[in-house]
Amino acid sequence: MKFTLVVYGAPHASEGAASALRFARALLEAGHSLYRVFFYGDGVHNGSALAAPPQDEQDLLGQWQRLQQAHNLDLVVCIAAAQRRGLLSESEASRLEKSAANLATGFTLAGLGQLAEAAAVCERVVTFGG
């Protein structure tokens, strides 16, 4: 079955993103397909390359990136929600004349249309709240 996950939870502010990761691993292990993970609201902070948690704490960013690489996942950060919260790709940073970019490798910025498109093609959409 084809799934899309929607993540509203920022790392540390809520457990939503960590739960989404566990769910994503389990659905892939069960042989289902993960069409897209859409990071929305405060969930966009999951795509920050600048997170630097202490070594003995859970590294959510690294876990998303490893899962993305292993399964060629489509990790989409909503561009409108990201701009509001200061999460920018190189091209967005230069377009908006900001001093730095911080979108992590493995994540892409895209519009809300990607959520609607995913809902149209997937059998299941599961939301992980903030």
Partner: protein, 119 residues
């Protein structure tokens, strides 16, 4: 390929960004011909009452709701029990161009959709 989608709006308008971002998602989906149904439930019904948020530096969220019919979301579903609990008279919710439909049984209503996006 197309799926029926319900946007379940449960947040009051200004306490967090989800009410606004939920409506933005609804408008984006509608613009892509994936027009979702919208159900205001719980504190989400507070999005529908008259608001004057200038003093707190916010944009009026009710305007986004007023825009919904222009994007093809012509019927707004509202949980009657949520209105009642909060002392809101359904008659006071007047939205030009929108048809208001009060939902008595949210269980049966939600059950009819392929996807529910919670906002």
């Amino acid at each position: 390929m197309s799926k029926s989608i319900l946007a379940l709006c449960r947040q009051a308008p200004y306490g967090n960004a989800l009410a606004r971002e939920g409506l933005e998602a609804v408008l984006a989906a509608a613009a892509m011909d994936q027009t979702p149904a919208v159900l205001f439930c719980g504190d989400g019904v507070f999005q529908l009452v008259q608001q004057s948020p200038e003093g707190i530096g916010e944009k009026n969220l009710r305007r986004n709701i007023q825009a919904l019919p222009m994007f093809g979301v012509e019927t707004l579903h509202i949980c009657r029990a949520s209105l009642q609990q909060r002392g809101i008279d359904p008659v006071a919710i007047e939205l030009p161009g929108a048809e208001i439909q009060l939902v008595e049984n949210t269980t049966a209503f939600i059950d009819g959709f392929d996807h529910v996006l919670s906002f």
